[in-house]
C-alpha cells in the first residue's frame, strides 16, 4: 500500500481465459488505483478487457478465467486471497456494480422493492419491512418520484432511465466504498444519459465513493472522471489526468481514438474523420511487444523488437510507447499519408434545388390492437394479445410527417428512442404499410401500390440495419449474400455477378477474397461493410441507415462514416441517416430533422438547426451530448425531466410541453404550434417563434 487514500489498488493484474484455441491473455500487467471520492475512467473498445477488470474485482470471473499474476488490494487485503464466502460478503456490500443494460439487469418477475431491498436483507441482516423502508429512501435519493408506488412496481413498468436509477439505488444500498459502473449509460438516450451522469456526479461528490467508470465513450469519461486509464487488448496504454490525456494524448492509440470521433464543433464538421486503420486485434494472436503495432502509423522497427513498458512522462502520466515522450506533439492527422484514404475534402454545401427523390407527405402510421393484423399476431403469439389489450388501442408512431430527400442529400433523423424515427424510415421504404398519407418516389405515388408493382422501387431504395449479425444469413458466404439481391432483381448474370461482387467489396474496402468467407469469420466492422455492400448491390439511389454504425467501436465507426460519405459523393446517393449520436449525424448530414413523439419539431440545414439550436427540444438534445470541445456547455446545460415514454399522452397543444424548459404558458398547452418555414427551408414548430416577433 503506497497511499492511504487509495481504497482500491490493482497491481500488475494478468489474466487468461481458457478457450478452445488455447489460453487467451485477456489482461496483461494492468495496474491502477482508485482514491476515496474519486472517479476513475476505464476506457476501451470491445476486447480491451475493461469488463473483465470489473468482474475480476468483484470475484465474478467464470471458471474459464484464471488470474496469473498480480493483486487486487482492498482494505489491506488481497481480494484474490479471500474465500468465496468472504468475497460474497464484500460483493454488493462494500464493492458494488451497476451493469450496462438496465432492461436486462433487473429480474422481470420480482418487484422493484424486493430487488432494491435484497442486499440490505442479506448483508445488513435487516428484516424485510425495514429493508423496504430503506429502499424507499434510497429510491428517493436517486431522484425517483413516488418511491412508495415504485417499490411495488415490476421492472417492465419503468422506463430505461428509471430502471437505471433503481440499479444505482440497489448498488448504493449498503453504503459501499467502491462503485463500479460498467457502461451505465450506453443503453440510454442522450437526454437520459445526461440525467444519470448528473446524478452520478453528485453521488460521487457527496458520498465519498471511489468510482470505477468503465466505458467506451471518451466524452462521457471526460465529463465524469478526473483520471482515465486507456485499455487496449488487455494492456494499459495510457494512464493519467483526463483533461491532459484527452487534450494532449500521447499514445498513438489515444491520439487515433480522439481523431476518429465526430465532433459537434463547427470547424470539425466539414472535415473527414481520420480513422485508425485496421480492426481490433485478434486476442489469440497478439503482436509481440507493442499490441498496437499493426495499426500504428508511427511504427518503427524498434516497436516490435523491444518490450514496451509503461513509462512515466514529464507531466506524471504513464504511457506504453517508447516514442511518446519524444514525439509528444505529433498529431494523428499530421501523418505523412492518409493510409490510402481520399484526401481531406470539404462537405459540399448542398443546394436542394432538385426535386425530392423520395418524399413523404402527411404520413401517418398508427399501430392499433384491432384489425386483421393484430388478430394474426395474436394467433401467432399468445403473449402479444395480452400486452396489446392493455395498451391504449391506438399509438400514433408517426403523425402527419412530411419530409423530402433530394438526390445526393443526407438527412439526419434524431430523437429519443420511441419517438417514431425507425417507424418513419420503415414506412418510407415501405417495409411497413402506412396508415394514411402519401409517399412519392421519383415523383410517383407508391404508398398504395401492390408489392408486385414495387420492383423498381425496391431496387432503388435499400435499408441498412443496426445489427449486422442478425441481418446476414450465417449459412451463406459473403459472396452469396451480396449476389442474392442482384439475382432477385435480375440485374446481373453468371460471370458478371462475380465481377460485380468483387467490385462491391472493393467499394466497401474489403479484399475480394472475402467473398468466400462466412459472416462469423468477420469482425463487426467488416460485417457492417458487407451489409453496406449488399445494400449497394442493386445500385440504389436511396438508403436508410437505421443506427447502422451505432453498434461499432469508435475506431471502426470512423472508417464506416467516411465510407458512407465517399459512396454518397461517388454514386450520388441519398441517405436517411438515423442515429442517436448527434455528433455523427451532424457530421454526415446536409439537413437534420428532429423528431419528437411522432412529429418533426424542427428541420433544416445542419448549421441552422444546431448552431445555435432554436427549438427547445433541439437545444435540450444538443446540450445533453457530453463533449470534449465545449466546456462552456457544462454550465449552460439544460436538462429535460422524465423521458418520452413515461410522459402521459398529450392530446392538445405542443407535444413537448410537459418537458419543455422554455414553455411560454397556456398557449403551449392548448394550441398545437404551427410549422413555420423560413426562406431557407428551415422548419420549426414552436410558439417561441411567433412570440418573439
Amino acid at each position: 500500500m503506497t497511499d492511504p487514500n487509495n481504497i482500491l489498488e490493482v497491481n500488475q493484474l494478468s489474466l487468461a481465459y481458457d478457450t478452445s484455441y488455447g489460453s487467451l491473455v485477456a489482461l496483461d500487467d494492468v495496474s491502477f488505483e482508485i482514491k476515496k471520492g474519486e472517479c476513475l475512467g476505464l476506457a476501451g473498445e470491445s476486447g480491451s478487457g475493461k469488463s473483465t477488470v470489473a468482474r475480476a474485482i468483484l470475484g465474478l470471473l467464470g471458471p474459464e478465467a484464471t488470474i496469473k499474476k498480480g493483486s487486487l488490494m482492498y482494505a489491506g487485503a488481497d481480494l484474490r486471497e479471500l474465500s468465496p464466502e468472504e468475497q460474497r460478503s464484500i460483493r454488493g456490500n462494500k464493492i458494488s456494480i451497476v451493469f450496462q443494460d438496465p432492461f436486462t439487469a433487473l429480474n422481470p418477475s420480482l418487484t422493484i422493492g424486493a430487488q432494491v431491498a435484497e442486499p440490505l436483507i442479506f448483508h445488513k441482516g435487516m428484516s424485510k419491512s425495514e429493508a423496504l423502508e430503506k429502499a424507499v429512501d434510497l429510491l428517493a435519493s436517486v431522484g425517483i418520484n413516488r418511491p412508495r408506488e415504485i417499490i411495488k412496481a415490476y421492472p417492465h413498468q419503468l422506463s430505461g432511465g428509471m430502471q437505471q436509477r433503481v440499479l444505482i439505488a440497489t448498488a448504493l444500498s449498503c453504503d459501499p466504498d467502491i462503485l463500479i459502473l460498467d457502461e451505465p449509460t450506453t443503453a440510454l438516450d442522450v437526454t437520459i444519459e445526461a440525467q444519470i451522469l448528473d446524478l452520478l456526479d453528485e453521488l460521487c461528490r457527496t458520498r465519498q465513493l471511489g468510482v470505477l467508470f468503465v466505458s467506451h465513450n471518451l466524452a462521457v469519461i471526460n465529463r465524469l472522471c478526473e483520471r482515465v486509464c486507456i485499455l487496449y487488448a488487455g494492456r494499459v496504454l495510457e494512464y493519467g489526468k483526463s483533461s491532459e490525456v484527452f487534450s494532449q494524448p500521447r499514445h498513438p492509440y489515444t491520439k487515433g481514438l480522439i481523431a476518429s470521433l465526430a465532433s459537434l464543433g463547427s470547424e470539425a464538421t466539414n472535415n473527414r474523420l481520420t480513422p485508425i486503420p485496421g480492426g481490433l486485434p485478434d486476442m489469440t494472436a497478439l503482436p509481440a511487444n507493442c499490441v498496437f503495432q499493426p495499426r500504428c502509423p508511427f511504427k518503427e522497427s524498434k516497436c516490435a523488437s523491444e518490450i514496451q513498458h509503461l513509462a512515466t512522462m514529464d507531466d506524471g502520466r504513464t504511457v506504453r510507447c517508447w516514442k511518446a515522450q519524444k514525439e509528444a506533439n505529433l498529431r494523428w492527422t499530421d501523418l505523412p499519408s492518409d493510409h490510402g484514404d481520399v484526401p481531406q475534402k470539404q462537405k459540399a454545401s448542398f443546394q436542394p434545388s432538385e426535386k425530392g427523390f423520395i418524399e413523404a407527405s402527411n404520413l401517418t402510421k398508427t399501430f392499433s390492437s384491432e384489425g386483421i393484423l393484430s388478430e394474426l399476431v395474436a394467433k401467432l403469439s399468445k403473449l402479444h394479445v395480452f400486452r396489446d389489450l392493455q395498451r391504449s388501442p391506438h399509438v400514433k408512431a408517426v403523425d402527419g410527417i412530411s419530409l423530402a430527400i433530394a438526390p445526393g442529400e443526407v438527412i439526419g433523423l434524431v430523437g429519443e428512442s420511441g419517438c417514431g424515427k425507425s417507424t418513419l424510415a420503415r414506412c418510407m421504404v415501405r417495409l411497413i404499410e402506412t396508415t394514411s398519407g402519401e409517399i412519392f418516389a421519383e415523383g410517383k405515388e407508391i404508398s398504395r401500390e401492390p408489392e408486385r408493382k414495387l420492383k423498381h422501387f425496391r431496387q432503388s431504395a435499400q435499408i441498412i440495419f443496426q445489427n449486422p449479425d442478425s441481418s446476414l444469413n450465417p449459412r451463406k458466404t459473403v459472396g452469396q449474400i451480396i449476389k442474392r439481391p442482384m439475382v432477385l432483381f435480375g440485374l446481373s448474370h453468371n460471370a458478371e455477378l462475380d465481377r460485380r461482387v468483387s467490385e462491391l467489396l472493393e467499394m466497401v474496402r474489403l479484399p475480394p477474397a472475402y467473398a468466400e468467407r462466412y459472416p462469423h469469420q468477420l469482425s463487426g466492422g467488416e460485417k457492417q461493410r458487407v451489409g453496406i455492400a449488399r445494400a449497394l448491390a442493386t445500385s440504389p439511389k436511396f438508403i436508410v441507415c437505421d443506427e447502422a454504425i451505432s453498434a461499432l467501436d469508435v475506431s471502426v465507426q470512423a472508417a464506416i462514416i467516411n465510407l458512407l460519405q465517399d459512396l454518397k459523393e461517388k454514386l450520388n446517393l441519398s441517405y436517411l441517416f438515423i442515429s442517436h449520436d448527434l455528433s455523427v449525424v451532424a457530421h454526415l448530414s446536409n439537413r437534420i430533422a428532429v423528431m419528437y413523439r411522432g412529429i418533426i419539431c424542427e428541420e433544416g440545414v445542419v448549421e441552422e438547426v444546431l448552431r445555435p439550436p432554436f427549438h427547445p427540444y433541439t437545444e435540450a438534445l444538443l446540450s445533453a451530448v457530453p463533449r470534449f470541445d465545449d466546456k462552456t456547455a457544462e454550465t449552460t446545460r439544460i436538462r429535460l425531466k422524465g423521458d418520452v415514454l413515461a410522459m402521459a399522452e398529450t392530446s392538445r397543444g405542443c407535444r413537448f410541453h410537459p418537458r419543455c424548459p422554455r414553455k411560454i404558458g397556456k398557449i403551449c398547452e392548448e394550441i398545437t404550434p404551427p410549422v413555420v418555414e423560413s426562406a431557407s427551408g428551415h422548419r420549426i414548430a414552436c410558439h417561441l417563434l411567433t412570440d418573439e416577433k
Partner: protein, 318 residues
C-alpha cells in the same frame, strides 16, 4: 384480460362444435351395421328393423346429428347401447378414476421433472447432467406398455411389493387403494418425465446466463437465493406450458396404461366402447376428453399470465 378469457372460452366452444361434427362423422363411418352389432350375428331382419326404428337410425344423418347435439346441450349424453344405461354416470365414474391417475402422474412428473431439470442445469456438463439426460431419454424412447410390463414383472411378480393390476375403491382402505395406483402412475411418470426435465434444464440454463442472474450474484446474494429466487422463478414459466401439452400426452398414455394394468378408467371404457360399437359412449367420451384438453390448455395459459408480471401488470407507470 377479461376480453381475452372470454375470447378463449368462445374459441373452446368453437373447437367443441367442430369436434362434435367430426366425432359424429367418424362414428358413422365405422364399419358394420349398428343394429347388428348390438343384437349379434343371429338377429333376424325384423329384430334389426325394430331396433333401427327404436333408435331412429334410418333418419337422415344431419337430423340424427341435430338430435344428438341438442340432447348434449341439455346435459343428456344419451344411453349406452351395450350396457343399456345412461352414459353420463358411467363416464363420470371412470373419469374420476382416470383423473386420480392423471393428477398423481402430473404431480410426480412436475415435481420430479423440475427437480431433475434444476440439478442438471446447475451441474451443467458434468456427471449429474449427463446421467439425468441419459435416463430421461431412456424414459421417453421406450413405450409405456414396456415400462408397464417391466414394473409388473419386477415389483409385483418378483418382489411382490405391489399388486400387479386392478383397482380398489378408496373405501377398502387408503393403503390398498394407493398400492394399486403406484404402478400405473410410475409408468406414466417415467414416460413424461423427460420432456419436463429437459425443458426445465434448458430454460434454467438460459436463466442462469441472463444479466439479472449475474446482477443477483454481484449483489453478493447466497447461491441458493440466486438459483431459486432469481433463476427458477422465471425458468418455470415455459415449463408450465410444456406441462399443459403434457396433459395431451397423458391421455394417450392413460389408454395404454389402463389397459396394461387393467385399471377401469376412461381409457379402458373408451376401448370397450369402440370394440362394441357403443356409439353414444364413444361420442360422449371423446367429446369430454377434447373439452378437458382445451380447458387444461386455457388454465395453463391463464396461470402463465398470472405468474408473469409483464402480462399481469401491463402499464408503464414511470
Amino acid at each position: 384480460m377479461l376480453v381475452y378469457i372470454l375470447k378463449r372460452i368462445v374459441y373452446i366452444f368453437c373447437i367443441l362444435a367442430v369436434m362434435s361434427v367430426l366425432i359424429f362423422a367418424i362414428t358413422q363411418a365405422l364399419p358394420g351395421n349398428v343394429a347388428r352389432m348390438i343384437l349379434g350375428e343371429f338377429a333376424t331382419v325384423d329384430q334389426i328393423q325394430a331396433i333401427e326404428e327404436k333408435l331412429r337410425l334410418n333418419d337422415p344423418l344431419p337430423l340424427q346429428y341435430w338430435r344428438w347435439v341438442s340432447a348434449l346441450l341439455t346435459g343428456d349424453l344419451g344411453d349406452s347401447l351395450v350396457m343399456e344405461r345412461p352414459v353420463a354416470p358411467l363416464i363420470s365414474l371412470s373419469l374420476q378414476r382416470s383423473a386420480i391417475l392423471a393428477f398423481m402422474s402430473l404431480f410426480c412428473v412436475a415435481s420430479i421433472g423440475i427437480t431433475l431439470g434444476v440439478i442438471a442445469a446447475v451441474k451443467h456438463n458434468r456427471a449429474p447432467d449427463y446421467g439425468i439426460s441419459f435416463f430421461s431419454y431412456l424414459g421417453i424412447s421406450v413405450p409405456e406398455f414396456f415400462w408397464g410390463i417391466l414394473i409388473i414383472l419386477f415389483f409385483a411378480r418378483y418382489l411382490g411389493w405391489i399388486p400387479a393390476t386392478g383397482y380398489v375403491p378408496l373405501s377398502e382402505g387408503f393403503g390398498t387403494w394407493l398400492s394399486h395406483l403406484i404402478a400405473p402412475v410410475a409408468t406414466l411418470t417415467l414416460t413424461l418425465l423427460a420432456n419436463i426435465s429437459r425443458m426445465t434444464r434448458s430454460s434454467m440454463l438460459e436463466e442462469l446466463g441472463t444479466n439479472y442472474v449475474t446482477a443477483a450474484r454481484a449483489k453478493g446474494l447466497p447461491e441458493r437465493v440466486v438459483l431459486f429466487r432469481h433463476a427458477l422463478r422465471n425458468a418455470l414459466l415455459p415449463t408450465i406450458t410444456v406441462l399443459a401439452v403434457g396433459v395431451g400426452w397423458l391421455f394417450g398414455g392413460i389408454v395404454v396404461v389402463e389397459t396394461v394394468f387393467a385399471y377401469p378408467g376412461m381409457g379402458r371404457m373408451l376401448l370397450f366402447a369402440i370394440e362394441h360399437r357403443d356409439l353414444p359412449l364413444i361420442q360422449a367420451g371423446i367429446l369430454i376428453i377434447t373439452a378437458i384438453y382445451s380447458l387444461s390448455n386455457l388454465s395453463a395459459d391463464l396461470l402463465y399470465a398470472y405468474l408473469n408480471p409483464r402480462i399481469r401488470y401491463g402499464r408503464t407507470i414511470a
